[in-house]
């Protein structure tokens, strides 16, 4: 069914910290690694060892410049499915292959019924869906549905691959429908933002804005060692004499 389910209480999603993301591509790489053999497998690569190589990825890390001059910043920006609350990518699907789960809000594609018409990719404003042109079906981020509920892996690892691998802990996973969850508190504390809210898709994922740059103090503070900091006895004596 491509009609959207009644809004549920649970809204699983990601919170991405644009302050600490260093654009290292680890999340994109681990995403590809996990999903090339998981629920959405295979994730094709075309011409992998020649010029013009390309493939299906669920996570793409862009870099932007924002602002001018001293106020300007370089911001690394991972882009993936935002598991929107009212996404047209689901309702436009003619086959029912594209669907939103009532129990946790995850947006998925049934690869057994998708006809590969591509309409859902047109309907996604965020470019979160990529066609597997080998299998002829649409693929997208599953929020690692095959990890987060997977009882065969240690509990600490039941998180999306991108979140686990991020070396700067810029990615957080949790229930954004629960105001008491760690991710919801993080969003409240840091003012997490939705992307393109004007399109009305109500994305669940949030992006934490880069923090204000720490301003350099106006004049350098002079180094003032205490007598105990001076290890050399001769210098300590000189310091004492000169300080009189």
């Amino acid at each position: 069914m491509t009609c959207l389910p009644a809004p549920g209480a649970k809204k699983l999603g990601l919170v991405i910290d644009l302050d600490t993301c260093v654009g290292c591509q680890a999340c994109a790489t681990n995403c590809k690694e996990w999903n090339a053999s998981g629920h959405s497998a295979p994730l094709p690569d075309f011409k992998p060892y020649a010029a013009g190589q390309e493939g299906v990825w669920f996570n793409r890390v862009h870099s932007f410049e924002a602002g001018e001059g001293e106020a300007g910043r370089t911001v690394h920006f991972p882009r993936s499915c935002l598991h929107c609350e009212t996404p047209d990518c689901v309702t436009v699907c003619p086959t029912g292959a594209s669907y939103k789960r009532a129990e946790d809000g995850i947006v998925l594609v049934n690869h057994d019924t998708c006809i590969g018409c591509g309409l859902c990719a047109w309907a996604c404003p965020y470019g979160a869906r990529e066609m597997d042109e080998d299998q002829g079906v649409m693929k997208k981020c599953t929020l690692c549905i095959d990890r987060i509920y997977n009882e065969n892996i240690p509990e600490a690892q039941r998180q999306p691959a991108c979140v686990l691998t991020c070396p700067t802990k810029a990615r957080h996973f949790g229930d954004l429908g629960d105001p008491e969850s760690a991710v919801s508190k993080l969003v409240a504390e840091r003012g997490g933002q939705p992307l393109m809210p004007e399109l009305g898709y109500n994305p669940v994922n949030r992006y934490l804005p880069p923090r204000k740059k720490a301003l350099p103090p106006s004049a350098p503070v002079e180094d003032a060692p205490t007598p105990m900091d001076i290890k050399n006895p001769l210098l300590r004596w000189m310091d004492r004499v000169l300080s009189r």
């Binding site: 924002a66 003619p94 965020y126 939705p194 399109l199």
Partner: protein, 310 residues
């Protein structure tokens, strides 16, 4: 957006086929086109060939054409599904209309003709809505997109019916309709093109990244060095100057010239008229291919905000 040849051909051919079916189903019971069996069957056959060729071509666009039957299941939410349902449903009255013509049963042809006309209009409406409901594409959300599809279907269908009618001695009514629809298409497409040129963007690089509070946002480094599905499908861009030339070509050769040829045929009639209407129908179809190609090539998708900043 990428103007995939299979989709450009589909909307042009099926649009003309449904337009032809619409006018045939409507005008034939009213006695405004030639009444012979040969004319009716030929026109119906041409309509069904165009419709079917278009629909088959559209399945060539699918990654999994063998599963195409699944596409009729989600008519509750999806305009693509509704289009499929309407397209298939229209075959029923269209075929019964043909049987009525074969058996020369006006009691059957009249209601089936009208039902087929209704189905044809509904199908084109659904086609238009597939595009008009896509919020990320500014050029497609415009309120003139659906009227444009309906009008151009009516125009090309009338031009074809006028041509066939003239072969059987009387294409005057469809020729007059094609003339009017051609002029209306000229006006509507002109308004549409001016409007999309001036329409504000649906989103900006600032809102797409949530970084607008810092200042203007510019892409610095792309996430990949080679192309990908998104850039090929949604990143297709056409140079402004090419678009201008193609718009002019569609307007003059595609809509204006066929309208003028219809007017000429209405005046002279006979063999000359038939020749003019044949040329007019061919030009209308060619013009429509250009217009449909532009419909895709000029459309912009919000995902390019991430790649190009606009």
């Amino acid at each position: 957006m990428n103007p995939a040849p299979s989709i450009v051909f589909f909307t042009t051919a099926s649009g003309a086929g449904y337009g032809l079916l619409f006018w045939l189903g409507l005008l034939r019971p009213l006695g405004l086109v030639p009444g012979g069996q040969g004319f009716g069957l030929t026109a119906l056959a041409l309509a069904l060939v165009l419709i079917t060729a278009g629909l088959l071509s559209s399945t060539a666009h699918l990654g999994n054409p063998r599963r195409a039957w699944r596409a009729v299941s989600q008519w509750r939410s999806s305009w693509l599904s509704r289009e499929g349902v309407a397209a298939l449903a229209t075959y029923v009255p269209a075929v019964l209309f043909g049987l009525g013509l074969l058996a020369e049963m006006p009691g059957l042809t009249a209601p089936m003709g009208l039902l087929a006309a209704l189905g044809a209009a509904a199908t084109i409406y659904c086609t238009g809505m597939i595009y008009a409901c896509l919020k990320p594409v500014k050029e497609w959300r415009h309120p003139l997109v659906v009227p444009g599809y309906l009008l151009l279907g009516a125009f090309s269908g009338a031009a074809l019916l006028a041509m066939l009618g003239s072969f059987w001695g009387d294409g005057a009514v469809p020729a007059a309709l094609a003339l009017l629809a051609g002029l209306a298409a000229l006006v509507v497409k002109n308004i549409y093109w001016t409007a999309i040129d001036q329409a504000p963007p649906v989103a900006t690089a600032e809102s797409a990244t949530s970084l607008g509070f810092i200042g203007k946002v510019r892409p610095l480094e792309p996430p990949h060095t080679e192309t990908n599905y998104l850039l090929r499908e949604m990143g297709f861009r056409i140079a402004r100057k090419h678009a201008e030339k193609l718009r002019l070509l569609a307007l003059t050769a595609g809509f204006g010239a066929p309208a003028a040829l219809c007017a000429f045929a209405l005046l002279v009639g006979g063999g000359m008229g038939a020749a003019a209407l044949t040329l007019g129908a061919a030009l209308a179809l060619a013009g429509l291919l250009v217009e449909r190609w532009l419909m895709f090539a000029e459309a912009t998708h919000t995902v390019t905000l991430y790649y190009h900043g606009q």
